[in-house]
């Protein structure tokens, strides 16, 4: 994991002190809300429905146990004893007091954390594959480049006032767990036929009110050029992106209106000017950053653990969890563990301070003191010995973090919605909770198989509804909540946007509608087909016919 150097630490500390003084000025009245708003947003502080909300960056989802304990402490002392994991791999607190902010930022700075650029029209937290560095099928570890991008984009003087916010995501695997095609810039790290490492560059993806899948504008970019090429893209966007209308200000609109080809031409032209300049990453710098991400001190273990095999055979509940929550690791004898923060009937992504403390302790005991936050609002332990899995599971059961729903229908992505968010037009969490209760039966979930159900409480799509295999968006219709259903989205390497199936439903109706769609799928699917495969094979009509012909 990256560790702050003297410069980083000093900068974050100074920034915390600076914002502390700005808060004092606001409280004493020498700054008006209008003057203060951009300053608080630059530090991740929003004003939501019930209170201030603080968004804290978790750089590309990587978190250590000391940081997690600090987040637990902040939740306990300054908030209402819980936090919320977000779809940008960050942590949010919903009940922050402005007057506490100076202290909170110093607390965060003491563990190398902050909220800088977690809001505003700048380059936001870089996101990445949560299995970075450990997935068995990974080509290269994307974290090195995430860190380079993080340093380059932090307080970049040219890109601090972009037309609109800007999101970058990086993956190093064939299997895309980072939704790279749904980002302003998506980078797919791979090796070409000559064995050279480089990126395929996607631009102009994004969700919100005008969703687009990112366009591939460069098939292969040598890794040493990653900063200069992103700089060229940002320069073109910064100059030509619309500033007259915030709803048309994202890069996706520019790329769409201009056409990917014309946009690429401008980027290449700009890049030709700067590619051999100061932004070309020297091998020595790459090595320096790589050193932060060397694998932990793994033991040499056999691939299979007889102990684990015996435990799987003797404890059915453990076996169910293990079958669902584990992923294959590069290192023999180790496993990747997905820790679900979407238990049945609870808000997806919420985690109590007590749970945070337990997770931090477990990370120290079983996972080299580190963990990851996923864009699906869960946690991952990346390096657990197979022989430790049973003990880890027992501890997770005790604190309600052993739900077995990874990649299943109850593991929804869900935005805070109208329960918290000032932009929302409908509640989203109650629907996610009801859906997880409707499909709580483990056998039923397993029968349905891999499926992504994403849910947002307004068209801004923080819950990624367009790229859910099943997507739900809540809107306000004459002061009532109406939920629209869309099918066919995917955020993975086969990215696609879902399409609205028909008229919307009320809160209970949407739960029935999803069950209806699932029943149709179970009848129509060929063996081994996932939901998305069946949908792509048969199209929306069978789903539509069955759903809307049902007696009212």
């Amino acid at each position: 994991m990256y560790k702050y150097d003297e410069f980083d630490a000093e900068f974050v500390n100074q920034r915390a002190l600076q914002f502390g003084r700005q808060v004092e000025s606001r409280l004493s009245g020498s700054l008006s809300e209008e003057q203060f708003r951009p300053l608080r947003l630059m530090n991740g502080l929003y004003l939501q429905l019930h209170a201030y909300m603080l968004r804290i960056n978790v750089p590309y989802g990587c978190l250590n146990s000391v940081q997690m304990r600090k987040l637990a402490h902040i939740a306990r002392v300054y908030d209402k004893d819980y936090g919320h994991l977000t779809t940008r791999q960050n942590m949010q607190f919903n009940w922050i007091k402005l007057a506490d902010m100076p202290e909170i930022l110093l607390e965060l700075a003491s563990v190398e954390m902050h909220g800088i650029q977690s809001s505003g029209n700048c380059i936001r937290n870089i996101t990445a594959d949560e299995y970075a560095g450990v997935a068995a099928e990974e080509i290269e570890d994307p974290r090195v480049y995430c860190e380079l991008l993080r340093q380059w984009s932090s307080l970049h003087p040219e890109f601090s006032f972009l037309p609109r916010k800007f999101k970058i995501s990086v993956t190093g695997s064939e299997k895309d767990r980072a939704a790279v095609k749904a980002h302003d810039i998506g980078l797919r790290l791979y090796r070409n036929e000559n064995g050279e490492e480089g990126f395929e560059v996607f631009v102009g993806g994004g969700l919100g009110r005008t969703p687009f899948i990112g366009k591939s504008i460069r098939a292969f970019l040598p890794t040493r050029h990653v900063l200069s090429y992103c700089e060229a893209i940002l320069r073109v966007y910064n100059q030509l992106g619309r500033r007259d209308n915030k709803y048309k200000a994202r890069i996706k609109i520019l790329v769409h209106e201009m056409g990917a080809e014309a946009f690429t031409e401008l980027v290449e032209k700009e890049w030709a000017q700067i590619s051999a300049g100061a932004l070309e990453v020297p091998e020595a710098e790459l090595e320096r950053v790589r050193a932060f991400f060397v694998p932990p001190a793994y033991e040499r273990l056999p691939e299979e653990s007889p102990e684990l095999e015996a435990q799987l055979g003797s404890d059915a509940a453990f076996a169910t969890w293990a079958r669902q929550q584990l992923a294959a690791h590069k290192q023999p004898g180790y496993a990747i563990v997905n820790i679900s923060c979407s238990p049945v009937g609870k808000p997806p992504g919420d985690i109590s301070s007590a749970q945070m403390d337990v997770v931090a302790n477990l990370a120290d005991t079983y996972n080299f003191g580190e963990m990851r936050v996923t864009h699906n609002q869960n946690l991952v332990f990346t390096d657990v010995r197979k022989s430790d899995l049973f003990a880890l599971w027992q501890e997770l059961v005790r604190v309600g973090l052993a739900t077995s729903n990874h990649g299943l229908i109850s593991d929804t992505i869900c935005c805070p919605g109208l329960d918290y968010c000032a932009l929302a037009t409908a509640r989203s969490i109650p629907v996610a909770e009801k859906l997880s209760q409707r499909f709580a039966d483990q056998d039923k979930q397993k029968e349905i198989g891999e499926i992504y159900l994403n849910m947002s409480g307004c068209i801004n799509a923080c819950g990624h509804h367009h790229v859910g295999n099943i997507g739900i968006v809540g809107v306000d219709k004459k002061n009532s909540e109406l939920y629209q259903l869309m099918l066919g989205g995917s955020a993975e390497e086969d990215a696609s946007l879902g399409k609205i199936l028909g008229p919307g439903f009320d809160e209970d109706g949407i739960v029935d509608a999803v069950e209806n769609v699932i029943d149709t799928y179970l009848e129509l699917r060929d063996e081994s087909e996932r939901f998305i495969d069946t949908y792509r094979r048969v199209g929306p009509d069978p789903f539509k016919e069955r759903l809307y012909s049902a007696p009212a």
Binding site: S32, L49, A51, Y52, K80, W95, L98, D419, D476
Partner: protein
Amino acid sequence: MATVKKNPVKFPDGDAGPMQQVVIANRLTDGVVVFLGRDRQWVTYLKDCPPAETPEEAETLLAMGVEAENNQEIVGPELIEVQDQNGTLAPIKMREAMRARGPSIRTDLGKQAGN
């Protein structure tokens, strides 16, 4: 200069009953939702807040809200429409109802829980 958001509330015509509005805002220091009560005091529960019965009263309330914002007491004062629901005053719009109560999925939090 404070930014004032006004909900486009339509006042009922004729004898449709008394129109009622209150001023809602967030308290500056902690963001807690507050309502403009008697004697320019900001109260945390809608039940403690006498609503304006006429458009003129509402405008007066809002002017007080703007003044309070300029005095750095609160943020984002706006008029919202409320009505009597089974003897309790409640906002008509769901968004404001949420602010007046707290999150529907955590009834242990917010005003509904007295914290």
